[in-house]
Structures are given as C-alpha cells and as structure tokens.
C-alpha cells in the first residue's frame, strides 16, 4: 500500500524567552491510505503540534525541520497557495472544542459554504445549500433546516462537534485529523461522536488520525497506536491491550486506566513529571519516571528501533512478556 503521509525526522521547536521548547524531536511516521491510527500521550507531549505540523499550521515562533509529505507533496516548505489547497481539501481537521473552533458571529450555513467556496469556487446558491444540508445529514443531525441557519451558540456541544465534522468533510478530504474530538463532551455524546467517526471513516474510506489521551478510545478506533512522550515517538505498533505494549511508558499508560472491577478504587499516577522541554539531555526522556530504568538509560538517549514487523520502540530494554 502507498503511504499517504510520510513524516521524516520532523523537528519543531518553539522560540520563547527562556530558549527553545523542543515540541517535536525526530518524528518518523508513515501512514497508509485508509488506515486509522491513534496518537496517544499526556498533555504537552507534542500530539497537537504534530497535528498542526501535518497542515503546516504551527505557531509563528516555531522553527521546523525535516519533511512532511502528503501524497508526495512536501508540506513544510510549501507556499501559501499550495497549503491553502491542501488544508480542508486533502486534510480535514476537527478540534478539541468545537464551540471555540466555530466562528461565533457567522451561521453554520456561512461557515460550511465559505469552506466549499474556498476550494471549489463560487457555486450556485441552491447547489451550495444542497451540499451543506447533505453534510449535516451525513453527520447525523436532525432538525437540519434550523441548525443550518443557526449560530454556533444556539447549538449543543454535540451538535457543534457534528457541524465541525461536517465542515472538515465539506471538501471531501482523504485524511481526517481528529484532535481530541470528544474531550469537551459528556460521555454519552462522546460515544455518539466516536461512532459517527467510525462510520464516516468506513463510508468515505478516510485515513483517520485520532489524537487522544484516552487509550480506550485509541484502542477502540485505531489499527495502529503511536505513543508519544516529551516530543518524541516512543512506540508505535498494533497495540490492543497492555501486553502488546513494549515501552515502559505505554505500559504505564495502560496501568492508569481505572479497573471497574477492582476492589480499591485508587487512581494510579505515573510518578514524577514530564521533563523540562527546553533542555535536551543525553538520556532517555522517560528516565526518572520509569519503573524499570537501568543505569544506561541515564547516560544515553535511546534510538527509535524496529523490534518486529510493524512495531518500533524507543527503549534500551523493551518489556517483553
């Protein structure tokens, strides 16, 4: 299968007063067309920066290097026009908080139609409206006539997220990035939105990139899991349960999931903190929090290595049992 996304040695650093924040370091990732992958990690590990880098929409104070190719088109060095064509048309993206990602002073109609117009030029009004309403139908919205003319604040959180999805899909992109799509929603709505994403992925044969800190969601949605820690990919592979994971950090993430059947309901935590992202010491970034760390981990930075077909880990002592 052909790779629709190829990321090589991607590094993104934010310039701040205190120095450089290494948001992403040496990220390698290949995604095949039609695949569903999940990028997992704690807050601040670089997940969202990675999503932004895919459409070259990182902050102005960011320094980027490496390559990101979408359908063999290099993104990081691409000009404005090329980027405008790729964003929305080849890659749709939905954000964490649909309420904040929708423009408060324009109607749903205006926001869907301006996207279509930006990519397909001016269409006849009835045609535009037909497409817009069809998108609302596809995202499972009832009461479409009202919602189409409504302003974002007149919709519920779930409706807003569905509208956001409709906008993201309005120009038929092959790739859909969902950046924590359900974090701001309550549990029942979460389940509905995830079911919708699953259905859309199947119907449209989308390449889905789900960014989440919820391993449950990740395992449920994706064929392949990418685990990130402190701006690096530490593990990637087909992981569906704890024993598939080989990096101590991935294991620890599984440990965190509360067990409903357990007697004691203590919430587990990973001791310690994410390392200071402005320094880059010559040691494993997880050193200090790792339960199975050995002296070598504190003196050398592990390489990202393939351990078996379709599975790579950045660890000197991957867990195997």
């Amino acid at each position: 299968m052909k790779n629709i996304i190829e990321i090589q040695n991607l590094t993104v650093e934010y310039k701040i007063k205190e120095g450089l924040v290494h948001a992403l370091t040496g990220v390698e990732l290949h995604i095949q067309k039609g695949e569903a992958i999940a990028i997992v990690g704690e807050s601040g590990c670089g997940k969202s920066t990675l999503a932004s880098a895919l459409i070259n929409l990182v902050a102005l104070n960011a320094v980027k290097s490496g390559t990101v190719k979408i359908n063999d088109m290099e993104i990081l060095s691409a000009g404005k026009k090329v980027l405008e064509n790729i964003r929305g048309k080849e890659i749709g993206i939905i954000f964490q908080e649909a309420g904040a990602a929708l423009n408060p002073v324009f109607t749903v109609k205006e926001q869907i139609e301006e996207t279509i117009t930006a990519h397909f030029g001016k269409l006849e009004k009835p045609e535009l409206e037909k497409r817009g309403l069809a998108l609302l139908e596809e995202t499972g919205l009832n009461d479409r006539e009202r919602i189409y003319k409504a302003y974002p604040h007149q919709l519920s959180g779930g409706q807003q997220q569905r509208v956001m999805i409709a906008i993201a899909l309005s120009c038929n992109p092959e790739i859909l990035i969902a950046d924590e799509p359900t974090t701001a929603l309550d549990v029942t709505v979460q389940a509905q939105i995830m079911a919708l994403l699953k259905k859309l992925k199947k119907d449209r044969n989308l390449t889905l990139i789900l960014i989440t800190h919820d391993l449950h969601l990740a395992v449920d949605m994706a064929q392949r899991i990418v685990v990130m820690y402190a701006g690096e990919i530490v593990e990637e592979g087909k992981i569906s349960q704890e024993k598939d994971a080989m990096h101590p950090y991935s294991r620890a993430l599984f440990e965190l999931i509360p067990d409903i059947n357990a007697e004691a309901r203590d919430f587990k935590i990973i001791p310690g903190e994410v390392p200071d992202m402005t320094t880059k010491e010559n040691k494993c970034r997880f050193f200090g929090r790792c339960a199975t760390a050995k002296p070598k981990c504190g003196t050398m930075h592990p390489e990202y290595e393939k351990v078996k077909e379709g599975h790579a880990v950045r660890c000197f002592y991957p867990v195997k049992d």
């Binding site: 404005k80 980027l83 048309k89 993206i93 990602a101 423009n103 408060p104 930006a118 993201a168």
Partner: protein, 323 residues
C-alpha cells in the same frame, strides 16, 4: 427586542431629569450671575434696576421654582430666549448646529475609517515596523494636549507658512465667491480643525481596534479557519474583522454626542461658529437659557447614542439578545 427598546427609551427620562437638575444647580450656584456680569462694574446702575432686571427674567424666584418653570417650558418644547440678544434658544442652536455637524462628521468618519485601517494593519503585522511607527505616532497623539497642538499648527501653517487660514469657517468676502471657490474656501478652513479633532481620536480608535484584532486573531476559530484552507485575506477581513469590530460599535455610539455637542476647546481656538463655542460664550455671560438648552440637548443625545449603540450591537452580534 421592541419591549427592551421601549424600556430603555423610558429610562432616558429619569436620567435626563437628573442631568438637567445637576446642570441647573451648578450654573446657578456659580458665583456671579447674569446681572452681575452686566452691571456690577457700572456705578450708574442702581440696586433698583438690578432688582427689576432680576424680576424680569424670573431670577428673583427661589431656585426650585425657577427649575420647575424651566421644566414646564421645556415640556412644551420651549427652551426660552437668550438673555443676551432675546432670540429663542432653539434658533441659536439651529444656527450653530450645521457648523458643528460638518466639522465633527468629517472628523468622525476620518477617525473611524483611518483608525480601523491602521488598527487592523498593525494587528496583522503585530510588532512589525508599521506597528512600531504607528505606536509612536499614536502615543504622541494621545499624550499631546490637543489645544497646544492646535496652537502650534496654527503658528506653523497659518502664520509662518501662510498656507491655511487660522480661524473661522469662511473667509471675508465668502458671499461674493463662485460656488467652486466657496467649497475650496470651506475646505481650507476645515483642514486644521479636522486634523486636530481627528488626531487624538485616531490614536485612541486605532489602538483599540488593534488590541481587539490581536485578541481575535489569537482565537481558536481563526486557527480553524486557516485549517479549512481559507485564504489569509478572507480569514483576516471576514472571519476576524467582524468579530473584532463588535466592540468598536459601542465607541461609535459614544461618539454621537460629540457630533452635535461640539467641542468647547477646538471651536473656541479656531473661532468655529458651532455649538461648543455657543455653550462657551453663554457660560461666560451667564446666559442660563442657552446653557441649559445646549446641555439638555447634549445629554439627550448622549443617552440616545448609548441606546443606539446597544441596539446596533445586538443587531450585529448574534449572541446578544436583549430582553
């Protein structure tokens, strides 16, 4: 909405009563009075004639009676006649209104168009050269006392360079000019007053628009707009601009009274025959009916301006619906 407007309209009246009451009290409590200005220095005036004059204008009555008299007349849309020249106050105001409107409309339009332009341009390239230069200029514009700036400009362009007239609205012999000459003459007279009145306001509006725009551009929905592949121009001038101009509407509403009330200082400095100068002249000569007339109309328009701004805000911002 209709109910809300009605409620707000009715609320104008108690506020208006308060304002006129305070204004009335202040001008009457000010040491001196109409009779003293005209007679105190004149030894030929007998106490008798002073008393007669006071009775004539009703100034001998207790203050509250005077106020109620004034209110009852105003309710019949009669603002009285000027002490100075016995002409109806409304006539004097109508006569001065066009000059003030002309000057202030031009500067208001200038302030908002240029101010929004500068503000948006500074915000888009926040921290760039244009932004820095504009910061300095607006900072100067904001800090300079504008009457002083007016005087300096009058010296430079009126006295030293002799390019522009320094005062008045038209030249001597205006009546004998051709229509084109008349317009040209008026424009020449307008340049300095418009520039000086607009300069300070420009500084204020452009900074205000800039900060509003910078804040809007940092919003999540702007990132989302870029993410769906909208061209930068559309994002800035459509998605962001509408959001960032909402608060500016309030400022526009608040500028309305200045449009009619005029400016005491500028109109006096430039001998501009408008409302501001009328108020200033009447205040100096204790011409109570004129002062009260100008104050009442300015207060009424301020309140109306606020209301219009609120309504306009609700019309453009879908999130606001008044009850």
């Amino acid at each position: 909405m209709g109910k809300y407007v009605l409620k707000r309209l009715l609320l104008i009246f108690p506020v208006l009563i308060g304002i006129t009451l305070i204004t009335f009290a202040i001008i009457h409590l000010t040491p001196g009075g109409y009779t003293s200005v005209n007679m105190q220095m004149n030894i030929k005036v007998s106490p008798d004639s002073v008393a007669r004059l006071k009775t004539l204008y009703g100034l001998d009555k207790p203050l509250h009676t005077q106020y109620l008299d004034w209110v009852s007349r105003v309710l019949r849309f009669d603002f009285g006649t000027s002490f100075i020249d016995q002409r109806p106050v409304m006539d004097k105001i109508y006569e001065r209104l066009p000059a003030t409107l002309l000057l202030n409309l031009i500067s208001l339009v200038l302030i908002f168009i240029v101010g929004i332009g500068i503000g948006v341009a500074s915000a888009v390239k926040n921290g760039g050269t244009f932004d820095k230069v504009m910061s300095v200029i607006t900072f100067i514009g904001y800090s300079l006392p504008s009457f002083w700036l007016a005087l300096l400009l009058m010296i430079l362009f009126g006295v030293v360079l002799r390019w522009l007239p320094v005062s008045g609205m038209v030249s001597l012999g205006f009546d004998y000019m051709s229509p084109m000459q008349k317009i040209g003459d008026l424009i020449l007279h307008l340049i300095l007053p418009v520039f000086v009145t607009a300069f300070g306001g420009l500084a204020y509006i452009s900074r205000y628009v800039k900060s509003s725009m910078v804040e809007t551009l940092s919003q999540y929905y702007i990132k989302a707009a870029y993410a769906k592949g909208m061209p930068e121009k559309t994002v800035i001038y459509k998605s962001a601009l509408k959001n960032s101009l909402l608060p500016v509407i309030t400022l526009l509403g608040l500028s309305l009274p200045g449009l009619i009330g005029g400016s005491f200082i500028f109109e006096t400095i430039f001998s501009w025959p408008g409302m501001g100068r009328l108020a200033y002249e009447s205040a100096l000569s204790f011409d109570y009916p004129v002062i009260m007339g100008v104050a009442t109309i300015a207060a009424f328009l301020t309140l109306l301006g606020n209301l219009i701004a609120d309504i306009a805000y609700a019309l453009v911002d879908p999130r606001i619906r008044y009850r």
